[in-house]
Symmetry: C2
Subunit: 386 residues, 2 copies
């Protein structure tokens, strides 16, 4: 018996006007004040370095936040998937770079059709992609801005030599339905190197590789409109490079616990941005004096970059998580949380944590455990994997 | 500018009748033949041990699979959250145990109202819960079946002593709107102890603790209708205990890579059940001779219990994942996958991986890389955290 049911999103855990304590748990809470400070600060930093800002929407998955970034000067957003770009375009964002390879006719045809109503550029790192993308562009009667992704040390996708980069750029330039758009040069791994000098060394190397490619392309008469890369962990190096002209930082809007483990030049924790994303959770059991069990586990918080960190609860540490439980060691906590009490957790990694939730609960005036719900927003591109 | 958008689920990545190779990626694929073998086998094992089977729906989140289990003799399902139970009831399942604490009036009132159309039992481990649940039951004019959760070694929720268990059971029995339903005694941690003897020792201890509680309750005139627990890693011990009368296994339906790391008594890998859940993914880059990058990362596969395992690709190993990328070391692979080729991955942990997807793609005749789509089903309780 295979009865079908429509897939429906869950109801939001709160309504506008609720106090923090009235929000059902577990919930994905945004500290709107902190987020806005983060958005303003990054916009200012990009402007003063004279580089463009194209924040990565794979992090927030939300046209709402994308629009907030654009209203502060961002030129558009990055996406990682065509379906993410579709959600952004529907949400009013008209300048997008898919900072990734897109493989397969179904996806490429959607990318091409999307280019009828927005600028949606894409990256390649293989010669076959040129013919594939141009065929889709022809079918949709559009011109697709296409960048070459180069590997600047991350060891993921991207060309491994300037020669290969030049070949691909020339192949793009030779296709009437493609436009050569520049270079994608993101060093993902370097974002999370803990020591300042290690991050700096990795990005100095990335800048050198990128600079060599840009120069070789220029000698062949191919100008790079976009030389893009950088993340929240390293962007100040790329911004000062005079080689990169577009920053693609994402996490700065929310600042997760993992980025807070990075160290600044003086050895102190990285604190340029404020934590603005939280999991609101309820203590559902106090089985003994040293343990509090909360109602948020793997389903509410991704642990790929470590456990979430209890917020404003000095001494508390998550000691284990299962699918629907988080077990917090409160041995060293002075004001031990009671059963029924609500706690905030700072996610270990914001991107995959956001991806677990259907709704953002935007809270204004969140200091300690106060604040009220100003707005509910869908995590519109949650599950946009295609 | 805070423009609202409705939260919509993504479109399914396939249609009925598609061949495996036509499914868009990344997709959550169920090998229907393997799943049905697993469901049949567990039903037979429970029957022959003369214990009831109440599989855990927190794993599959799907009334479709719940009904398949019930049609094979399961008496109902377990859930971990009220919102999961709501989805199951909507999907036609009328006998549910929430094997967890439920804290907060909003949730308890929903639990009570749900009891008007289905039997939905709940667990407690704190005296305050008795008054809270009975108040909601009174408001909804229902009687709620209530079990006491005891800690049998997992160190999560649950009472720590038979004395406490007896106190709670008596308090439940004294409430006119509650019915004492028995004991919840699940040892989650033991499921993943690698050695057979280690799992056995842990469960023998759990059985002893449970048996003591059941006896003390019986002496006080309190019979346990349900003595429930057990998971896919240990259920044969609980089934043979003559203490437990209800098995709550979940993962057996899909069998993930982590359970395959358990060892049987003879030291061979645990293989009672077949892998029936996969992430179908596409190679989107072959940056060098030893690396294949696929389009499935943290958003498509949870890594809380390790990376997914490439399927039918001997020698391949995932060496890193980021949000939308999986980097596979193919140095030792003889038939190296080409760019554009589709690969299956066995998830490290099925529960949180299922939770990432909106749709199951049910494939019939999946052997190697063949098969066709027989049915698409929503992951109906995805995101049911409340």
């Amino acid at each position: 018996m295979l009865v079908k049911m429509e897939k429906r999103a869950m109801q939001p855990p709160a309504r506008e006007g609720f106090y923090l304590d009235e929000i059902d748990t577990p919930a994905l809470v945004v500290d709107l004040d902190a987020m806005e400070v983060n958005l303003d600060l990054m916009a200012r930093k990009a402007r003063s370095a004279n580089v463009r800002l194209r924040p990565h929407a794979k992090m927030h998955k939300s046209p709402w936040i994308g629009r907030e970034q654009i209203s502060r000067g961002a030129i558009g957003v990055c996406c990682q998937k065509v379906s993410e770009a579709e959600v952004m375009v529907t949400g009013g964002i008209k300048d997008i770079l898919i900072s990734n390879q897109v493989v397969g006719t179904v996806k490429l045809d959607r990318l091409a059709i999307l280019n009828r109503e927005a600028k949606v550029a894409v990256c390649i790192d293989h010669a076959d992609a040129v013919g594939e993308i141009s065929a889709s562009a022809k079918r949709a009667d559009v011109v697709i801005n296409t960048l070459v992704e180069i590997d600047v040390g991350a060891g993921r996708c991207g060309t491994k030599s300037p020669k290969k980069t030049l070949e691909l750029a020339q192949a793009i330039a030779n296709e009437p339905t493609l436009k050569f758009g520049g270079i994608q040069a993101y060093h993902g791994a370097a974002q999370h190197f803990r020591a300042h000098d290690e991050r700096q060394a990795a990005i100095m190397n990335a800048i050198a590789i990128t600079n060599e490619s840009v120069s070789i392309l220029a000698s062949a008469g191919l100008d790079c409109d976009t030389v893009g890369g950088a993340g929240t962990g390293t962007f100040e190096f790329e911004a000062a490079s005079h080689v990169y002209n577009e920053l693609q930082c994402g996490s700065y809007a929310f600042m997760d616990a993992d980025y807070a483990r990075n160290k600044q030049k003086d050895g102190t924790p990285y604190n340029t941005f404020h934590h603005a994303l939280f999991i609101l959770t309820t203590v559902m059991s106090r089985p003994d004096k040293t343990t509090a069990v909360v109602d948020a586990g793997h389903k509410a918080a991704s642990v790929d970059s470590g456990f979430p960190r209890p917020w404003h609860l000095p001494g508390a540490q998550i000691q284990g998580m299962s699918d629907d439980h988080g077990v917090i060691d409160i041995t060293r906590v002075i004001d031990k949380p009671a059963r029924g009490q609500k706690l905030l957790l700072v996610p270990g990694h914001c991107d995959p944590t956001v991806n677990l939730h259907d709704w953002y609960v935007g809270v204004r005036g969140l200091h300690g455990m106060n604040g009220f719900v100003e707005a509910i927003h869908p995590v519109a591109a949650r599950g946009a994997y295609f």
